[in-house]
Every structure is written in structure tokens, then in C-alpha cells.
Subunit: 360 residues, 2 copies
């Protein structure tokens, strides 16, 4: 756990502005700095950063828990991510896991490994980015750990409470359910392609939208909570690995399939312009691009009215893109009436690419 | 979150015995293997590994949360830790944080980064070690994450529930409180010294005890829970950073001090033999050695009887080693009647040693 020392080295508050390194302020110094600036406040019966463990109230008595490990060089690169963006993305990715369960965000813990020569300002910016992504949902930083490591590594754990009508798991879809997706998946993939070509110093139009989607994605915690509450959503998942990969996770254990219709996809003119400029098939970006953190929902057709009323409150909106089928497998009807399926579909990303199951 | 694929590559069950590497089985293969062998079972209203997040019941509605990041080369070394021991130690260290709050262990999450050329057998052994350390307390593996990284990195998060009479924080000690410690702190430090000289192939006597303390420390979750329940323990901490460092954490925010008496320390003849053989001052090993995961408790003198009755059920036992004083600072009365204090005391370990506050 983060342990805050009372006697932090003098001046750790403005350490970030003084060009100090982690080894200059020591472990207790950096923890005290982070606790003061970003630490959450304990409510009655709770304990915040500073003890062996945090104590946090979880309304309803069921915790929703997710953890994610991010390694510099594998999950993010300082080449085109600012430290604040790294923090933002990390928190959003975890918040998205809570959103996908329809959970109410409660608190997060951050374990950090860093080389002793890491600037305090860099660590501060990562935590600032997390705090900025956390603020709208009210999720609080309640604990963590810092240690030495030769690569900057972040492990985030988020805790939520089961919201009204929740949890909504990946299972429960039935043939005939309508598939809705929030926002406009695929922009993050376009943003990645853009950034790989070198980060633009100024961006407007589609470049700006693509960069924002990749660098500052927004978790759909409001949408997830409302989706659970309205009672119409039978199964839900976030599309962090891309629509097709995550849709297959939604269907596979129930042995179901889906039909998607390209003409219904929320793919804007701007999205097509961006895809063309970046030399990417817009359908592949939409269906196969990951790290969007949009939500994919299976909605009971008989409760569509209730869902649409709830969806009016979704900041991201929601679009019907297809339906669940009894026949396994995913088929996509293209705008020209042709069908793609199986090996013809774009695919996701595997952290340990298997020789038996090559992916990308 | 750990996401289990239904169609895991064929034969991942015995993968560990076939000399396979992570890249041979892929991310979904290794997750499915770990979930099947070590994954916890969901109770009614819960969700285990396989969704966006786990859902876990937390009796009483207050979660006790702690997270720890361990990097190979910094926190553990394959030179003298077997992978199973690495897992055991990691789980025990986290369980100890719950113990120090008097919490009831509920579940744990494991995020793992590893090079694709890591043997599946090594990862399996780490999880086997965690499962073995977890078993007596009933704490269940309910989620996690796996990813690529060029160094083996583990991030454990443990979740507990506030037990009867809990939580017991680090604050609350008062002058006159008696200081009790469980077990025999210092053995882990001796074990470290022994192992640094090369791991003995066979060990007996003090060598065996020292090695076990360092390689397979036991978290005092039973003791912590009973300590909270008896109502006599005003403040508690685990001595993972050594008695002196952690005692100072227990006292510092209340501006208190302590007097310890060497003659009362649970330092056995065998401990002295080991210290002499390893060229370590036994007092320094006892007071300054870390990674023991024993508990240090401040017991109200008026409730000593109730505490001693509760302590009869402690598998580790408990020993009074001193008392809390109004005057700040820690003073140790040596067996010869002399006193040591301040800079004369052994010290702990700082992950980012500060230039201003050099530690070791």
C-alpha cells in the first residue's frame, strides 16, 4: 500500500517544478506528494492512503473489480504519448471495464514501478492525467504502491459497486437481441495510425478527432450504468479489443452468432476522409480497431423502447449495428449487398501471439 | 481483466509439462490454463474470471484493499527464488496487509507481464505458489490481466472485508499501550543473508528455518482477525519493513514514542547461532530486518487479559517487547542496561533512496 510519511522531504509539493528525480525525493517523498495532490478523501468509516490497506465503502456489498498492467514500450510509448495522456488512457481503460458491467465507480489503486532517474514531473503528470479522467465519475484514488523498476510500469486496479439492475455480464444474449454500440468505434485505430507517422504539433478536423480518440478516450461509465438500470440490456462488453473480437467474446460461451449491417454503422464522412488519408479500410478500422472503450450491448427487442429512452441520456449516443443469431459466427453484410465472414473479417490483438493461432 | 477464451489451444492443461512457452499457447491459452487450475469459484451473485470485471461479495459492505507491484530483479530474483516461492511470497505479502487491518480475506487479482519466451511452467509455478499461500485463508483468485513485458512483473491486489471489531488502523496508540509482536521477526533477514551466499541444496536446523522464513513467510491473517475481534488492539501494522521502521509508522502521526527492552525480544538460541554464523548482529536482524510479515500491535494495558486470551489462538504466538511512550522517538534498552536510540538504531529500506535522507 501507499504509505505516507509525515516528515516528507522539504518542498516535495513543488518538486515537479524543480526538475527533481524520484531518487532526489525518495519513496516516502513521492508518495506524500502524490497523496496530497491526487489522493481521495475518506468518508466516515473509510481509510484513505496511509495505512496497510485502504478501507472503502461499497454500496450494496458487492465489489466490481478489475486490474490492468501497463508497461512502457509495450502499452504506451513516450515517443508520442505525453505522460498525462498515459495516465488518462490507463484510468479510462479500467473505468471502461467497470462501465461494461454497469457498475458505479468507487475507487482506484495505482501501483507504479519506475527507474530512480525518472523525473518527479513525469510521475506527477501521469497521476494528473488519471485524476482528470477520473474526475467526472467521482472515482477516488485510495491506495497504491511505488517501487523501483527499470521500466516505467503502471498497474491500475479499479473498484466499483453493482449498480441498479446490474451487474450486466458478457453472457445472457439471445437470438434476436439487437446489438447497439455507443459512440463511434474505430477512431482510436485511426489516431494510432496518424501518430505512428509522427505526432502533429497542431491538429484540426479529423486529425484532431482521431488523436483525441487515441490519446484521451472516454470511458462510457454513464452509459453502462444507465444501460444496467433500464433493464433492457441482456449482455454488455467494452470493445477495447475491437468490435469483432469483443462481439465474439459476447457470443461465444452461449454458442451464438451475429449479423451486422455495414449501412447501419456509425461511420461518418469525416471518418471516411481520415481512413482514406491514412490508407486504412474504414470497415477494418470500425470492426477491428481496438482501444476505443465504447460499449457493445445486446438489447432485448421487446424492451427496445425502454432502452431508447435510457439511451437519450447517453452522452455518446448509441447505434443499432446488427442482431444476435442462433447460428454461430459473425457475418457482415456490406453496403453493396455482399457478405464477409470468417477469415475475411479483420481481427484483434493478442499479447502473446500464438504460433498455432497467429493473430496479426 | 482476465478474459477466458472458450476455444483455448489444444492441450493447454498439460502445457506446463510440455516445455511450452507463453508465445506457444497465446494469451487466451495461458489465461484459460490459469483460470482452470487456479481460478476461484463464484458464489451466488458473484462473477469469476471471464468477464470485463469480477463481481465479489464483500460482507459488511466495506472493502479492505491493497496492491503491490513486484519486478523480477528488483523484488525477487530467479537466482535463488523458485517461481513457486516468488508466488508464495507475493501473495503472503499482500495477505499480510489485510492481516494488519484485521480484515477477513476475500479475493485477489493478479496482473502479470512476461516476455513471450517465458516457459508456461514458470508462470504456472508462480500461480501454484500463490494458490498454496492462499489456501489456508480461503482467499480466491477472481481476476487479473496478462500482457507482454520484457521483465517478469507481478501486480497483486487483495480485497478483504472489515472483520468484527475492525478495521484496526495504524493510528490509535496511546502512551502506556503495550507493544506485542507475533512470531519471531528477523529470521527473514537471516534467510536473505544465507541465500545471498548461495542457496544450500539441503538445509536443516537454523538454515532451514531462515530459508523458510525468507522463501515461504506466512501472513498472520488469523492473528490479525482475532486481534481486531478481541477489542484490545488499538493500532496494528505489519513489520514488512522491519520492526523499527514500521513501529515509527505506528507512532509518528500521533507524535508518540516507544521503549523496547531487548531482554523481552523473542530471539531464540537458534536465532543467535544463525546470526553469529552469518556475521549479523542479532539485534539488528530482529529490529531492522524486513519481509517477515509479522504483526506489531499496540494493546491497551487495561484489556491485556482479553488480548492474552485471544492470543492463545494465534498460531504464531505473541510477545510483549515494549510500551508506547508520550515522548517521541524509539529507545531500546539493551540486555546490559545500556540504551540505543536515534542514529544508533538499525534502519529500513527505501525503494528510491533519497540523497537528502540516505537509507542504507
Amino acid at each position: 500500500m501507499i504509505r505516507a510519511a509525515r516528515d516528507a522531504p522539504d518542498g516535495t509539493g513543488p518538486a515537479a517544478r524543480r526538475g527533481l528525480l524520484l531518487r532526489d525525493v525518495g519513496e516516502s517523498g513521492v508518495i506524500e506528494h502524490l497523496r496530497r495532490k491526487y489522493g481521495g478523501t475518506a468518508r466516515p468509516g473509510e481509510l484513505a492512503i496511509g495505512d496497510d490497506a485502504a478501507v472503502v465503502r461499497i454500496p450494496g456489498g458487492r465489489g466490481v473489480l478489475s486490474t490492468d498492467l501497463l508497461v512502457e514500450g509495450t502499452h504506451f510509448s513516450s515517443d508520442y504519448f505525453l505522460p498525462e495522456e498515459t495516465g488518462w488512457r490507463a484510468l479510462s481503460a479500467n473505468l471502461s471495464d467497470l462501465a461494461a458491467m454497469g457498475a458505479v465507480p468507487v475507487c482506484y489503486l495505482v501501483a507504479l514501478a519506475a527507474p530512480p532517474a525518472t523525473p518527479v514531473a513525469k510521475v506527477d503528470a501521469i497521476f494528473r492525467g488519471m485524476a482528470a479522467a477520473a474526475a467526472p465519475s467521482g472515482i477516488r484514488l485510495m491506495g497504491g504502491d511505488t517501487c523501483r523498476g527499470d521500466r516505467l510500469t503502471l498497474c491500475l486496479t479499479v473498484v466499483g459497486a453493482v449498480g441498479r439492475g446490474g451487474p450486466v455480464s458478457r453472457r445472457g444474449a439471445r437470438p434476436g437481441d439487437l446489438l447497439y454500440v455507443t459512440g463511434s468505434p474505430g477512431w482510436s485505430r485511426l489516431g494510432l495510425a496518424l501518430l505512428r507517422g509522427g505526432r502533429p504539433s497542431k491538429a484540426s478536423g479529423w486529425r484532431r478527432e482521431a488523436m483525441r480518440a487515441h490519446l484521451r478516450p472516454e470511458a462510457r461509465w454513464r452509459e453502462g450504468k444507465e444501460a444496467a438500470r433500464c433493464g433492457a440490456v441482456a449482455a454488455m462488453i467494452d470493445v477495447s479489443d475491437g468490435i469483432l473480437t469483443d462481439l465474439s467474446h459476447l457470443l461465444e460461451r452461449d454458442g451464438l452468432g451475429a449479423v451486422l449491417a455495414e449501412e447501419s454503422f456509425p461511420v461518418s464522412r469525416s471518418f471516411r476522409t481520415a481512413s482514406a488519408a491514412l490508407g486504412i479500410d474504414p470497415l477494418a478500422a470500425f470492426l477491428g480497431g481496438g482501444e476505443d472503450y465504447e460499449l457493445l450491448m445486446a438489447v432485448r427487442p421487446g424492451r427496445r423502447g425502454g432502452f431508447l429512452r435510457a439511451a437519450r441520456a447517453f452522452p455518446s449516443g448509441a447505434t443499432a449495428i446488427g442482431a444476435v443469431t442462433k447460428a454461430p459466427g459473425i457475418r457482415v453484410r456490406r453496403a453493396d449487398g455482399s457478405w464477409i465472414e470468417g477469415a475475411g473479417l479483420p481481427s484483434g490483438f493478442d499479447h502473446f501471439p500464438s504460433r498455432e493461432h497467429p493473430v496479426r
